[in-house]
């Protein structure tokens, strides 16, 4: 069963958000990485890029397919996980840790409230599988 940490917020596009003050760290969920398979390439934006909510900020490629990733919240990118250039497999092995993707300065922290809780996300993926 996919791991869904309690303390994170989730989008219906299978991204997670960890709130750190006004900043949000963003990655893809365990369920998402499992669906994707072996990640071989991650394309990320540059620090300073700004995104609206649900905007594509990059892509994750597995052997088999490429998937866009979307910003669950709006804001300006303040950091990207540069280690993914050499170790994209971190997205598979540690999606909520070393596999994080970007950190944004949120322009509207209230947006977090409209995201799913861990329990809601779990129900959502269950329903999606059925």
């Amino acid at each position: 069963m996919a791991n869904v940490p309690e303390d994170l917020h989730y989008s219906k596009d299978h991204e997670w958000v960890r709130v750190e003050g006004d900043a949000a760290v963003i990655g893809i969920t365990d369920y998402a990485q499992d669906s994707l398979g072996d990640v071989v390439y991650v394309e990320l934006p540059k620090p300073g890029d700004e995104f609206a909510p649900s905007e594509s900020f990059g892509s994750v490629e597995s052997v088999k397919a490429v998937s866009e990733v979307f910003t669950p919240v709006s804001g300006k990118v303040v950091a990207i996980n540069e280690s993914l250039a050499d170790e994209p497999e971190s997205v598979n092995s540690d999606p909520y840790g070393t596999g994080w993707m970007i950190k944004v300065q949120m322009s509207n922290p209230g947006e977090v409230d409209s995201l799913l809780t861990a329990a809601e996300y779990e129900d959502f993926t269950k329903a999606e599988r059925e």
């Binding site: 299978h14 390439y41 052997v63 088999k64 598979n92």
Partner: protein, 377 residues
């Protein structure tokens, strides 16, 4: 990100190993109407590498089989396929194609010769029904009996440098005496089988055909003697690894490199076009095309910048969109991003620089010799 969820669709066809795939945790997808494992928990890269370095086991029971019996078996099959069936001896198999009058491809296939009056055709899963109709409709009075026996067989491919030593534990047939692209009949774990030294991975290996209801027994036994679960033991492999393995090995996949719009010559399959063997469907057009010269060609390429080419992306040379990628993927063993594409013949030389339009970004690539990967012998 967007996830394509495939819910178990009852209308999908299942191979005799469907239950086993689910037990093994295979991720099931709809593959041309078949419910097939795209990968198992080990993942595509590990499955691919294990097959190159040790061994991998593939369920290919979805492939179709057509039996051709009768005194005109060779004459008939020789007329509807491009390779020369008269060159086969008993116990030998041949890569060939069913061709249209235009020299394009209905399907690629293996032709097995059991006897002068008994051939066995192995065709692609997604095209089995089409092929069957095509073959029947092109039967023109030859004395042959045609039978679509696809559902009667399971087909299991054991591939990799250790395939022989694993399979040898299950049979008295001296496997090393079977030459590449040859086959024999015998028992595997007591089950009457066709044992064929063929495959779709670029490795040594075998494809075993047996009665459908024996599929689970054979599969499980091969995993067992292949020491599944150990670090170097056999791994069950899904369709994704099957695809990356064949791509590295430079083999065509029907619906990608070849279809009813591509001729065999364009697809670099001139070596299975025996234009002087006598009349066959498409021969005239192929001979004309050979004479006139090709307008486009299938080439292999290697990406030289960051990025991965994918199927159907466009090939750009200068400011011209000149062709399309037929298969594009990371190559797990070579650790490169590679692919096949059609390009105008004047740009097809090895060493040529092309660009691939990867979702709006032009990524550099170089045309290289194929196969991309060739095993040491």
């Amino acid at each position: 990100m967007v996830i394509n969820v495939t819910s178990p669709a009852p209308q999908l066809k299942q191979t005799p190993l469907n239950r086993v795939h689910r037990q093994l945790g295979g991720k099931m997808v709809d593959f041309g109407g078949w419910d097939m494992p795209v990968q198992y928990p080990a993942g595509t890269i590990e499955e691919h590498l294990r097959t190159r370095n040790h061994s991998g086991l593939f369920d290919v029971s979805h492939m179709g089989e057509i039996d051709v019996k009768g005194s005109d078996a060779i004459t008939f099959v020789n007329r509807i396929t491009s390779n020369d069936v008269t060159k086969l001896i008993d116990g030998q198999a041949q890569y060939s194609a069913l061709t249209t009058p235009d020299g394009t491809v209905i399907d690629d296939l293996l032709v097995y010769r059991f006897a002068a009056d008994h051939l066995f055709l192995v065709v692609n899963a997604g095209t089995t029904e089409k092929d069957w109709e095509w073959i029947r409709s092109h039967h023109a009075g030859e004395s042959v009996e045609l039978k679509n026996v696809s559902t009667e067989y399971c087909q299991i491919a054991l591939q990799g440098p250790e395939a022989l030593s694993i399979l040898q534990q299950l049979t008295h047939v001296p496997l090393n005496d079977i030459k590449y692209y040859h086959f024999t009949t015998g028992t595997v774990d007591g089950v009457e089988s066709i044992i064929s030294r063929t495959g779709y991975t670029g490795e040594d290996g075998f494809e075993v055909y047996a009665a459908a209801e024996k599929g689970e027994q054979l599969w499980n036994k091969m995993l067992e003697v292949g020491k599944v679960g150990t670090e170097t033991g056999v791994l069950p492999c899904g369709l994704a690894a099957r695809n990356t393995l064949r791509l590295e090995a430079g083999m065509s996949l029907y619906g990608h490199e070849i279809d009813e719009t591509t001729t065999l010559l364009e697809a670099n399959l001139g070596w299975i076009c025996k234009l002087d063997k006598g009349e066959f469907i498409g021969r005239e057009k192929l001979a004309q095309q050979k004479e006139a010269g090709l307008k486009r060609r299938l080439v292999g390429f290697e990406i030289t910048e960051r990025g991965i080419a994918r199927d159907d992306q466009e090939v750009v040379i200068g400011d011209q969109r000149v062709g399309k990628v037929t298969s594009g993927s990371p190559a797990p063993y070579l650790k490169k991003n590679i692919g096949f594409a059609y390009v105008p013949a004047e740009f097809a030389a090895v060493g040529g620089e092309i660009k691939i339009d990867v979702r709006g970004r032009l990524v550099g690539a170089q045309i290289v010799k194929t196969p991309f990967y060739k095993r040491a012998r």
